[in-house]
């Protein structure tokens, strides 16, 4: 159609130059660190890197060893138990607390501040406090025994079978505030008229929550799940501070396995293989979410 040469826009790479300059840190971060770093790690997970990275390929040997290592299997099992419990409990508790706070109560700000404040603390602090509270000699167990119930046993941090629940208690203490906050924002975002309509129709409150409000809060739930799930995979500081992976290796988690393999056992290849597995598990959670969130948004233009 076009006949005149200046009909077409000229090629101008320097147009919008400032925006491009401003984006250099982002471009470097995404391409070099996120994409490049990930690619590098995955590549080296197929090598026999020991203390130093070396391009000596050994195929899937690191992965075979990984899945043949009990410590990794324990770490995965722990992550699984911890993950499921953390998701379920933080969602349920977070939602119930948000629903309670949403009853037009007095002192809402005070209650909310109290429930959310642990979120401001570091995992190290959280881990150490709960290590102390769960100390069998002086903590909860000791106190109950002193009250006369001498056979009372509650020492999750020193019992390999339940140590992961000891960590869960601390994690929930720290993390439910966030979920509560998200849920509260979600509840506030729901049209007041929905409640009026439900009241006019005579639907009991719990039914309104379960059948009307919760389905409407789907995006909030999705966000909360994604946030918690990505946090679960990363859990590291808390375990280090609370149990150092103990007793024995009973509270190992993948993030710690990776760190120990890379730096303590001087087996980088093994660490890279383990972190690649972590990446894979995150991808399983994130990709469907990203597809749903961003893919849909794009289609709407």
């Amino acid at each position: 159609m076009s006949t005149r040469s200046d009909d077409r826009p000229p090629f101008r790479p320097f147009r919008n130059l400032n925006a491009k300059i401003a984006s250099v840190p982002m471009i470097l971060t995404t391409m070099v660190v996120f994409v490049g770093g990930t690619f590098w790690t995955v590549l080296y997970s197929f090598t026999k890197s020991g203390l130093l990275p070396r391009l000596e390929f050994v195929g899937l040997a690191q992965y075979e060893r990984l899945w043949g290592t009990n410590r990794w299997l324990i770490a995965i099992e722990n992550l699984f138990i911890f993950g499921i419990c953390m998701l379920v409990f933080s969602m349920v508790i977070g939602f119930v607390l948000a629903a309670l706070l949403d009853q037009k109560i007095r002192f809402e700000n005070t209650f909310r501040s109290i429930i959310l404040f642990p979120y401001a603390l570091s995992f190290i602090v959280t881990g150490l406090v709960w290590q102390w509270i769960l100390n069998p000699q002086f903590g909860v167990q000791g106190v109950v025994r002193n009250l006369g119930w001498t056979s009372f046993t509650f020492d999750p941090l020193y019992n390999a079978d339940i140590v992961i629940y000891g960590i869960l208690i601390a994690a929930l203490w720290q993390g439910t505030g966030l979920v509560m906050c998200l849920m509260l924002a979600g509840l506030r975002g729901i049209d007041e008229d929905i409640w009026k309509a439900a009241r006019v129709d005579g639907i009991p409150a719990w039914k309104t929550y379960v059948f009307i409000v919760i389905p409407m809060m789907r995006p909030v739930f999705v966000t909360a799940i994604v946030l918690i799930a990505s946090g679960i995979v990363r859990v590291y500081d808390l375990v280090v501070a609370q149990t150092s992976g103990g007793p024995g290796i009973a509270s190992e988690v993948p993030a710690k396995y990776v760190y120990d393999m890379m730096f303590s056992s001087q087996n980088l290849g093994q660490g890279f293989a383990a972190s690649t597995m972590m990446l894979l598990s995150v991808a399983i959670v994130i990709i469907p979410w990203a597809y749903l969130e961003f893919g849909r948004r794009r289609r709407h233009g």
Partner: protein
């Protein structure tokens, strides 16, 4: 680094008086943070500061497994310290191969380390391709059983003289409300205890075959099966001990809450800090009272390659200083370990230390685990044993089988 060099050139250009220019800060990293250990390091720092330089202490808490990664990543990350502690052995192999560690051969020759270091295997562990890369500082032996005399008194039994008696006394201790065997929760502790049981109960030859030659037949043999039975006993005896750190476990023995602990000679430092006397307050049984052999592992200082000339000089001075008789004596007395040179006068040594010295003098030594096996494989064994100790449902046979697998793939 660049800043250091810049500072150095600047310093040179403004011609600071020579005495000042000579005083160099040297950062030394190590993981000696318990009471006895810290006291021993203080001796080294004092000696080094006396030369006019300054010891910058870079203690990293949490034991070797926490500290080594920091050290290694700093060395490989291009931010090396002046000197650093490692267990000599295979932990540094790759660093040396990568040319990141300083060759100390000239200093070693000038100081005549070849003639004074005893046993000579210590220096061998520092040697790669005929060059010497580290300065051994002490000999640490793992093979000790520390017993609390008070605990046995309270239980009304004789202080045992060997492992079997100890096992036999366990029920009495439990009746008296004691934990028979104190054991910290970290993997290296139970892994080490297991190795001690192996070399003591199965004998040094089997130990060398398994850890040194990675001989799966030996690893699968009946001797090792017996070791796992002993480990099973140890597991039962340590069931009540819920501490993490080794010195907390030692503290249980010191206070008489626990009967005994299998731990290296560094535990002795803790007894000393607590003001206890060997023979009176506590008893030590080398080789669990069965096979009195001692491993000759220990700590050594490595010196990463630096660019700054002043710092290089300071490195050299520190290396030489570490093996001087006075330093050796002062350090090892506090640390509870054995000096690396035979000519040090150990008048001040206590009962237990003398026992160790005698064994060394008789040459009843074995290489340490770190000298024989890579850290990776050792960690795998540690993980297995600590799992075994913390999982009552795991049978000795299962653990044995998995042990053989690890040995088969070890390097």
């Amino acid at each position: 680094m660049r800043h250091a060099m810049l500072a150095a050139t600047l310093a040179a250009s403004v011609a600071i008086p020579a005495t000042l220019a000579n005083a160099t800060d040297l950062e030394v990293t190590h993981w000696w943070t318990s009471g006895g250990e810290a006291a021993a390091v203080a001796e080294l720092a004092k000696a080094f500061d006396a030369t006019g330089h300054k010891w910058i202490d870079g203690a990293i808490a949490g034991g070797g497994n926490t500290a080594r990664p920091v050290m290694i990543s700093r060395i490989t990350g291009g931010d090396p310290m002046g000197a650093t502690q490692f267990n000599h052995g295979r932990q540094t192999e790759e660093l040396i191969e990568a040319g990141l560690m300083r060759d100390l051969t000239d200093i070693a020759e000038a100081e005549g380390w070849k003639d004074i270091v005893r046993p000579s295997s210590l220096l061998d562990s520092c040697t790669v391709d005929g060059r010497i890369y580290c300065a051994p500082i002490n000999i640490h032996s793992w093979e000790w059983l520390w017993l609390s005399n008070k605990a046995f008194e309270d239980a009304g039994v004789e202080v045992p003289t060997n492992w079997d008696e100890f096992v036999a006394a366990a029920p009495k201790l439990e009746e008296a409300g004691k934990i028979p065997l104190a054991m910290g929760g970290q993997p290296w502790q139970s892994g080490g205890a297991f190795r001690v049981m192996l070399s003591s109960l199965a004998g040094p030859d089997v130990y060398k075959k398994v850890y040194g030659d990675k001989d799966t037949d030996a690893a699968a043999g009946p001797e090792i099966a017996r070791v796992f039975e002993a480990a099973d006993n140890a597991r039962k005896m340590s069931a009540g001990s819920n501490v993490q750190d080794w010195n907390q476990a030692t503290n249980l023995v010191i206070t008489g809450q626990a009967g005994g602990q299998i731990m290296g000679d560094w535990a002795q430092g803790e007894f000393q800090v607590a003001g206890q006397t060997a023979g009176e307050d506590y008893t030590c049984l080398p080789g669990l009272g069965v096979n009195a052999v001692m491993s000759t592992g220990g700590d050594a200082f490595y010196f990463p390659v630096l660019q700054d000339e002043e710092q290089k000089k300071a490195q050299g001075e520190l290396a030489a200083l570490l093996l001087k008789p006075e330093t050796q004596l002062a350090f090892n007395l506090k640390k509870g370990s054995v000096p690396v040179r035979g000519d040090v006068d150990l008048e001040a040594a206590n009962d237990c230390m003398k026992k160790g010295l005698d064994i060394l003098a008789e040459g009843r030594t074995i290489p340490s685990g770190e000298q024989l096996m890579s850290q990776d494989s050792l960690n795998q064994i540690n993980d297995l044993v600590v799992e075994f100790f913390n999982t009552p449902s795991m049978t000795a046979e299962d653990a044995h089988k998995r042990f053989v697998d690890i040995v088969a793939s070890a390097d």
